[in-house]
């Protein structure tokens, strides 16, 4: 399969496909970060995660439309405001959902799966009724269009670079919040021993609600970033949910580093394979490999050693 390409061509192919993989990697990481917090830290399976992401995408779309009609002079900077709004909207919805639905189900993880699936169906239908069944695309500001020419045969699109930079930034912020801040310590304390955490005066219910809200908020940011590279429809979120769960499980549920490593390996494998075979076969092979490895090593790549 490598026969008809020269070494130089192959190099460029790998770099370009690698870059395409990096964009996929960014979307995976942003989605998986939120999911890893919710699933890894709280043990809740949130099947509606994709819909929280799409909410962020719709918020971004609405903000860009508002800027276009009322503040065209500031249009080049709308994205930063949109991202914050997306975070707030998804986070607020997440906290509401936690209060209404999830908190009753902490002891029944399989039931949360069914309940959040129901929620995702309702959200999808809500998006379809409000925003229409067609996919919507966001108009990018001028500075994000075009591409950077690295060498003669290698070009990288600017919006891709931007999304990647954003991913790195958000990952660092999340890691800082979880591992260095007082609130992050409380979250980890609740995860490791809920009863003891309660005994030393941590309000575990409040921590749960904020953790769920944070996870959903990051999904909102993921959706915001997603608009930079693709269009948004009511069911776009569902396309990513299984992949993202595999990313989280493959990485080892409670490990942030594992999530990133697994998102990287899955997205790179998929986009490299995509060049040599049809997209569907590339995806099948990648997912099969992941499932196969998980059968051999069910705890994932980076497993924390915890006493259960």
């Amino acid at each position: 399969m490598f026969g008809e390409y020269s070494i130089g061509d192959l190099g460029s192919i790998f770099v370009m496909q690698g870059f395409a993989g990096l964009i996929l990697f960014s979307v995976y990481v942003l989605m998986a970060l939120g999911l890893a917090i919710i699933f890894g830290q709280m043990g809740v399976i949130n099947m509606a995660h994709g819909e929280f992401m799409i909410l962020g995408a719709y918020v971004t779309w609405m903000t860009s439309n508002l800027f276009q009609s009322f503040l065209p002079s500031l249009f080049s900077g709308y994205f930063f405001l949109a991202m914050m709004l997306a975070f707030l909207a998804s986070g607020a919805l997440g906290m509401l959902v936690e209060w209404v639905l999830i908190r009753h189900l902490y002891k029944r993880p399989l039931d949360t799966l069914l309940a959040t699936w129901g929620l995702s169906l309702m959200l999808q239908q809500a998006y379809r009724s409000i925003f229409g069944p067609r996919e919507v695309g966001v108009e990018l500001p001028q500075w994000m269009l075009g591409s950077l020419k690295v060498t003669d045969s290698i070009e990288v699109p600017i919006n891709g670079v931007f999304v990647m930079g954003l991913t790195v930034l958000i990952t660092i912020v999340v890691a800082y919040v979880l591992y260095k801040s007082r609130w992050g310590r409380q979250v980890r304390a609740v995860v490791q021993n809920r009863i003891m955490a309660g005994a030393v005066g941590i309000n575990t219910e409040k921590v749960d609600r904020f953790t769920f809200g944070l996870g959903c908020g990051i999904a909102g940011i993921a959706g915001s970033a997603f608009t930079m590279i693709g269009s948004t429809g009511p069911t776009s979120g569902q396309l990513y949910i299984v992949d993202t769960f595999l990313v989280v499980v493959f990485g080892g549920a409670a490990s942030l580093l594992g999530t990133i490593a697994s998102a990287f390996s899955i997205s790179q494998t998929q986009s490299t394979l995509e060049f040599f075979m049809s997209g569907s076969m590339a995806k099948v092979l990648t997912l099969l490999a992941v499932v196969g490895i998980l059968m051999l090593r069910p705890q994932g790549l980076f497993a924390l050693k915890v006493r259960k």
């Binding site: 043990g43 399989l110 699936w117 169906l121 299984v242 769960f245 099948v284 997912l287 998980l294 069910p298």
Partner: protein, 380 residues
């Protein structure tokens, strides 16, 4: 604890007679062939739902990949029917006569090797049971021997459902792609399309369904069923008592897979086609909701759940397509939050006591003490 020495206790016997009367007599007499065929379609999901009662309700293993087994069974049946429908005379106009039409459209010139044995009905029937059974055995062994369970198992089975759909859609030339296998005509020369054939197929299906109900009930009543329940409640204690937890789980999962496959095969026969839209994530998780609505602990409940949810789906999505998704979503949430034991739970908590009281007031004989651990609420 009193081990139930009868196959059905009194309330189960009433449930059995009621279901048998409705499916064998009342529905065939009161519905036209089109509606009866719709019921037959709903009942194919009841097979899956009964399997899930064993696997999820009793064993505590939630599989989100039952569509895979439903699809495997359905595709095995459809491959046989498709081969019979694409005999050389029927496919004269193709560039390669004697192969299914979708292969010809996709420039496949010879029948692939894995299609060859499906010329034989015996092989097909064996394959409907064995292929999904073996597949479930492999997945189950790989997962349960390593003590993977609960949510991880659910996610991985879901991923397998996704892989299966992508594979079927992607390999158009071998599977018929997104359209699936359509235009199935005869079974050993017997036309499956006219009305009288549909009625006969309906009865065949109901008989098979009752056979599966019998098997499931048998498993429930034996020691095996009790170990499944014990395992769901306190896995470690069962393990420490010397039982191989993994083997029991594998067994329950394989049984569920085989039931689902029988349902899939009946689907291909009754509905006359098979497509990847019955394999993927969405149908798989909908199959779980049939069980949940009927009551995850109740075998008869599973049948009712499949019929009622599908009936609601057909009638609501015809007239109010927008409402249906809201309704289905709300159903998921309501069943989890408010009625974890589904319809059978409501029946047992609210209807059954009244009937009992009514009966007790007529004849004040002491009631017999049949009880079964399995009827308790699931604690997870």
């Amino acid at each position: 604890m009193i081990i139930n020495s009868r196959f059905f206790n009194r309330s189960e016997l009433i449930g059995f007679i009621a279901l048998a009367a409705i499916l064998f007599v009342i529905l065939p007499l009161s519905l036209d062939v089109f509606r009866l065929n719709l019921v037959a379609k709903y009942l194919t999901y009841a097979f899956v739902a009964i399997g899930l009662v064993l696997c999820w309700g009793y064993g505590g293993i939630l599989s989100l990949g039952q569509g895979v087994f439903f699809g495997l069974g359905g595709y095995c049946m459809a491959m046989f029917l498709k081969l019979e429908a694409s005999s050389v005379e029927n496919t004269k106009i193709q560039s390669t006569p004697g192969i299914p039409d979708f292969m010809d459209w996709n420039q496949v010139t010879a029948l692939p090797f894995f299609w060859q044995p499906f010329h034989s009905l015996t092989f097909t029937i064996a394959a409907i049971i064995l292929v999904p059974g073996l597949f479930a055995l492999i997945i189950g062994t790989a997962m349960f021997k390593r003590r993977v369970g609960g949510t991880y198992f659910a996610i991985i089975t879901q991923a397998i459902a996704a892989i299966m759909t992508i594979l079927i859609v992607g390999q158009q030339g071998y599977t018929g792609g997104i359209n699936g296998m359509t235009d199935l005509r005869t079974l050993k020369g017997w036309d499956i399309r006219p009305d009288h054939a549909k009625v006969i197929l309906y009865f065949v299906e109901v008989v098979l369904l009752f056979a599966c109900i019998g098997i499931a009930q048998f498993i429930r009543l034996t020691k095996l069923g009790r170990i499944l329940v014990a395992m769901r409640e306190q896995e470690d204690r069962v393990r420490f008592s010397g039982y191989s937890v993994a083997n029991f789980k594998i067994f329950a999962f394989c049984m569920a897979a085989i039931f689902a496959a029988i349902g899939g095969a009946m689907f291909a026969l009754n509905v006359g086609f098979m497509s990847p839209s019955f394999v993927g994530i969405v149908p798989s998780i909908e199959m779980v909701i049939y069980t949940a609505v009927g009551g995850r602990m109740s075998i008869f409940g599973a049948v009712w759940g499949s019929i009622l949810v599908n009936f609601a789906k057909t009638s609501l999505s015809e007239s109010f397509p927008q409402l249906w998704l809201f309704g289905l979503g709300a159903l998921f949430i309501a069943v989890v939050l408010a009625f974890p034991n589904g319809l059978s739970g409501i029946w047992q908590d609210h209807v059954q006591p009244r009937i009992d009281r009514l009966l007790a007031s007529r004849k004040s004989k002491p009631k017999d003490g049949w009880n079964s651990v399995a009827d308790g609420a699931p604690a997870e």
